[in-house]
Each structure stands twice: as structure tokens, then as C-alpha cells.
């Protein structure tokens, strides 16, 4: 998926190809750093999830705009086995 709306094709010069290759490598490094940081946040995130569930029970889930629907304890999801990731 892209934002494509208008584009004009051209031949890509070699110096531009090198720039593209370098940017691709640097982005891969940034991505891996983000993945590691988000993994390190797992214990804190688990706590945030529990606080979220408490608010759903007490104040409700924002179903549409400010319309809130209270969620019962038995309706809450069960945490699945395996590692939880948030960056894909």
C-alpha cells in the first residue's frame, strides 16, 4: 500500500541507488533498536494492560466516541501463551 497519486518515472542514477541502499541499511538498524526497546517495555506494558482492564470494568470501553460500555470480568480476554510483540 502506498500514497500513490502522482508519479513521473525516470532512470535512477547510480549515486541515487547508493543513497537508497545506505538508507535501507540504516533503517534496518533503527527498526531493530525499536524492536529491542519495545521488548524491554514488556513488564511495564503488562501492568498497563491490567490497568486498562480495570478501567474497562469500572468506567467502560469506548465503543464509539464517548459512548462507553462496561466490560465484565468474565468477558475480558485471556493472555495467550508465547511471547507478546507489538512491533511487526
Amino acid at each position: 500500500m502506498t500514497f500513490i497519486y502522482t508519479k513521473i518515472d525516470r532512470e535512477i542514477p547510480d549515486e541515487v541507488r547508493q543513497w537508497l541502499e545506505q538508507e535501507g541499511k540504516e533503517q534496518e538498524e533503527r527498526y531493530q533498536k525499536i524492536v529491542a526497546e519495545m521488548k524491554a517495555l514488556n513488564p511495564t506494558r503488562d501492568q498497563w494492560y491490567e490497568e486498562f482492564f480495570e478501567r474497562l470494568k469500572k468506567y467502560g470501553f469506548n465503543a464509539d466516541g464517548d459512548q462507553r460500555v462496561k466490560i465484565k470480568e468474565e468477558e475480558l480476554p485471556v493472555k495467550p501463551d508465547g511471547e507478546h510483540v507489538v512491533v511487526y
Binding site: 497519486y5 537508497l20 527498526y31 474497562l56 466516541g65
Partner: protein, 319 residues
Amino acid sequence: MSRPHIEPFCDRDVPFKNMTLPGFGSGFSYKMLSFDTEIGSCTMTVQLAGGYRQAPGFSYSELEFIVVEGNIQVGDKSCRKGHYFYVPAGYALPEISSEQGALLLMMYNTAEPSRVDSDEHHPQSRTELYHDVDSFGDIVWQPGNLVSPSVASGCMIKLLNFNPQTYAMTFLYCMTPDFHQDNISYHDCCEEGYHLWGTSWMMQFGDLPTGGYFWRPPYINHGAFASEFGCIAIGRTDSKLFNHFHYNPWSTPGQNELRSAARLAKRDPILYKWCVNNAHNHPHGPEDFEDTMARRGGGHTHADGTHHHHDHNGDHVHD
């Protein structure tokens, strides 16, 4: 792969680099925020040094940009913080300069950054699509409930650009102080955001401060949401934004995608059956007769649904 999931990222954490691509001159430095490894399209924070000048010229890529800090001069127009530009590929902008320097957010949508000196538009440019606006001064905030189900009150938007064919849009959004929304959201489209000012919080990723950025592929959970002191940001989607809300933080993108399809099957069962049974789900979608039907003027249709006739010898790209 096109653009990977970049979230969260803060441009304040990395230094500027000098732009080495031809045509940009000295005094143009950037921080890469996200980058499409297939076509080179990208989003960058750009710093123009004081005294920077760029001759009139065009890009082979469609370009959007907004002034984040400082002032720039574009031809005879003085543009302050919040000024937004939508520039079709091949549209020749007049001279751009900045006396005191400026910070910009630049989004090259359809190819890598490029610039060719020219005071004439490229013959293939869709010049009629160009527009710019002082988004801070000349557009009012609207409630965020333009789509349903909607965000909670306190999240408002200003629409900057809209593609009537794909429903892709660019918009400013803000959260008022003490904004909070207790649900988890995902969309059927890519979503991008950059914080011009202020901090917001998302339950998966934590705080996103000034200079904070995300590029989020479809079907990825984000939220609950909150902002203690408020924020202003620029956001984009690459197709229709629909809020799929739920409260399972452990659902995966694959499960979310299936849920979207299941909801389509419930909502539009006849259309869903046609798509599935006829296997008409090829990448470019089924034929829209308005795009292909013979017209008396012999014209053709563009990605935004408009059609016209003109003569040229070069290639012409259709989506």
C-alpha cells in the same frame, strides 16, 4: 518489503545528516523517519540552514511538506509554522529560501527525493492538484467524529489533503489536555503520524513526545490513548480510515485482518461473496467501468476519478 513498522521513534534522538542527493544544495540536512525500500518514498525531518536558497524546480515524486518551525519564502509567499503544501510530481515550485532557517516535515510519496532545476512544470505533471494552506491560521478544528465509530471527544482534526479515489488523507490532529480513550484500535490502511508539539501516550508504545513519529502498517493494535497536557500532530493514511475498536491487547495483525474480513462479510455479504467466489481479488482490484469505458472525447481517467484528454509523447502512469 515496503516500509517497516517504525513505532515509536523520536527524531530528537538522532543527528541531522547532510543531503547528498543531487539538486538540494548545501544547507539542506535531514533525519530519515521512514523509508520504502522498494520505491524510495520516505518521510524526513528537514532542517534548512539560515540563508538557504533553492532555485525553482520540481521533483519526480509527489511531495507533501509542512513548516514545523521557522519561516520559509516560497516565491512571493511568506510561510510560517503550520503552512502545508501538496505538490504533485513534476510541479515546479518557485524559489524556496529561508532567511533564519526552518524545520520542515517532508514526505516524498511516490519515489525517492529528487529535484530538478526548472521554472516550468514537467509536461506530465497534474498541476491542477497543487494546493497549499496556512493550516494553523486558515482552517478551523473539526470534531474527530467524521468517521464512525469515532474517536472520543477531545481529539480533533483539520483535513489538509484528500484523495477521492482511495480516501487517503493528510490531516492535523490534536488532543486536548487530559484526553483519554479506552479502546484498542487498528485500521485496514497504513497510518503515519508526527508530533509537531506535545506528548501523547499509547498503551503499546508508551509516550510519544514532540518530534515523535510512527509509520504503522495495517492491522497493528494501538491504544488505549491518553495525553496529559495535549498535543498537535500531522497524520496520514494511504486509504480509507476505519476504526476497528476492540479490547484484546494480544490479538495479532493476522487475527485483526481476519476480523476485518469477517466484519465485511457481515456488513456487505453479497459483495463479500462475489469477491471470494469469483476470485476477483487480484492486486489492482476489479475493473471499474468508469475508469475504462470508451468516452466520446477519447479521454482517460486518473487515480482521483477525474478524466480528460490531452496529447503527449511520454509515458503516463496510472494507478
